[in-house]
């Protein structure tokens, strides 16, 4: 995926692209965004991953069918398809791992707030809940159980310090604008704003960039 692909996506003729190509683009975009944003993004809800899984299965079956063929021509095609499949699988794997890493790091944060909780896919939710339970059990059996009862919680907010660690939403991200828009950013000394043009690449705090990305006028690169 390069710039041309992205430009084509904002093109009015976008709909002429077949669905499978669009899914691949959606996957690539989700992957890029997930890897560069500091917090967990929404799980794609339109059945993207069901379709992707289906397609991977189809390709594997196809490869198995073709393996029996000894024709050199099919052999070449086979290698191309296999390489493509490996890359496709890598995208999915890397995407899922990036999400799991974020979930593992701030499990309680993602579990304790219903709005953020909705970003997880059902399997991820099950995984996170179970993982947290395991950790808590581990703490309990290692030392917490012999603590005085008022100190056994893992979500104290005493002394204005919450025990639940949250991702730093002020880290910088690079975004590419997909349309002309006004970009506003908070700075350490003073706030700044600029008129952005289509295709501009801007670096700014994730907390400022988030609303642009959510409304679709920008994407993370």
């Amino acid at each position: 995926m390069d710039i041309d692909d992205i430009l084509r996506e904002v093109d009015p003729t976008f709909d002429s692209i077949p669905e499978d190509t669009r899914d691949l683009q959606a996957l690539t975009r989700a992957w890029v965004a997930e890897r560069s944003s500091p917090e967990l993004l929404d799980w794609p809800i339109d059945g993207l991953f069901e379709r992707i899984n289906e397609r991977i299965k189809q390709q594997i079956e196809k490869i198995e069918e073709m393996t029996g063929d000894m024709d050199p021509k099919t052999n070449f095609a086979l290698i191309v398809i296999q390489t493509e499949l490996e890359r496709y699988k890598y995208l999915v794997r890397s995407y899922l791992r990036a999400r799991i890493a974020k979930i593992d790091k701030h499990t309680l944060h993602y579990l304790s707030n219903p709005v953020i909780r909705a970003r997880l896919s059902p399997p991820e939710l099950a995984y996170a809940t179970r993982h947290q339970a395991l950790l808590h059990n581990h703490y309990l059996s290692s030392f917490l159980s012999s603590f005085p009862a008022p100190l056994q919680n893992l979500n104290d907010t005493a002394g204005n310090i919450s025990m639940i660690d949250a991702p730093d939403l002020d880290t910088a991200v690079f975004i590419r604008l997909l349309g002309d828009t006004r970009v506003e950013g908070r700075g350490t000394d003073e706030d700044g704003a600029m008129d952005g043009k289509n295709g501009d690449i801007v670096i700014l705090r994730w907390s400022d960039a988030k609303k642009l990305v959510d409304t679709g006028v920008a994407e993370i690169v």
Binding site: N53, I56, K57, I60, T67, I79, Q82, T83, E86, R87, K89, Y90, V92, R93, S94, L96, R97, I100, D104, P123, A126, Y127, R130, H131, L134, L135, N137, H138, Y139, S141, S142, F143, L144, S146, F147, P148, L151, L154, D156, A158, G159
Partner: protein
């Protein structure tokens, strides 16, 4: 008293982050810190006892200060303990993801007397004979492996624990470091004998590379 031991634990945790292997579990320290918390809690209870629940900090500032320090130390100790255990748990999870048999490895590490996790020799556990994991940690690892296997099961075609390097070539050269017996590939069976070299499909041998049977040649 008042958090000295907790500090030691944090230093251990910090050190663990930069080590290639997992140092032995500090059972004694953990126990001592926990004991300290219990003692402090008892002190607090003793201090409050004569007031019968009607303690007013403004009337007795010295006691109020003692109570505050005790409370803060308890919380701090708890944080230290949590940090220590979390660091180790993270490390263990990492190993589980990489597909090592952690419990086995920990035992082996002690027997070999050298860093089992590719660590430099001689840096291993000081108190030979015991595993560097606490029994609770072994339990945790076992349960986490199950959890991971369950999650992986939903993505059977992807092989979640596979390499996170972007694939470049379908086929790679590998050298066999340890006898691994015969493996089945789409192109027939290959017998992996030590020191031989093969040109194979990466997906077929990824597991074996991770386990140290094969070495990838670039």
């Amino acid at each position: 008293m008042y958090g000295d031991l907790g500090n030691k634990l944090v230093q251990h945790a910090k050190r663990t982050q930069n080590l290639s292997h997992l140092p032995p579990y500090q059972t004694e320290l953990v126990r001592a810190v926990t004991r300290e918390v219990r003692d402090l809690d008892k002190d607090v209870a003793d201090l409050l006892e004569p007031f019968q629940g009607s303690f007013n900090p403004a009337n007795d500032q010295a006691t109020a200060c003692t109570l505050l320090v005790n409370h803060l130390s308890m919380r701090r100790n708890k944080r230290c303990l949590l940090a220590y255990h979390r660091t180790r748990a993270d490390r263990l999870e990492e190993l589980v993801w990489k597909g090592y048999d952690v419990v086995d490895l920990a035992g082996q590490q002690v027997r070999d007397g050298q860093g089992g996790f590719n660590g430099p020799p001689g840096m291993a556990t000081g108190n030979g004979g015991t595993s560097s994991l606490s029994p609770q940690e072994e339990d945790y690892v076992r349960q986490y492996s199950d959890l991971l296997a369950a999650y992986k099961g939903q993505w059977t075609d992807i092989d979640l624990t596979g390499s996170l390097e972007p694939p470049r070539d379908l086929f790679i050269d590998v050298r066999v470091l340890k006898d691994a017996g015969e493996i089945q590939t789409e192109y027939g069976a290959i017998t992996l004998t030590k020191n031989s070299q093969f040109y194979v499909r990466q997906g077929d041998v990824e597991r074996l590379i991770a386990q140290g049977y094969l070495q990838k040649l670039s």
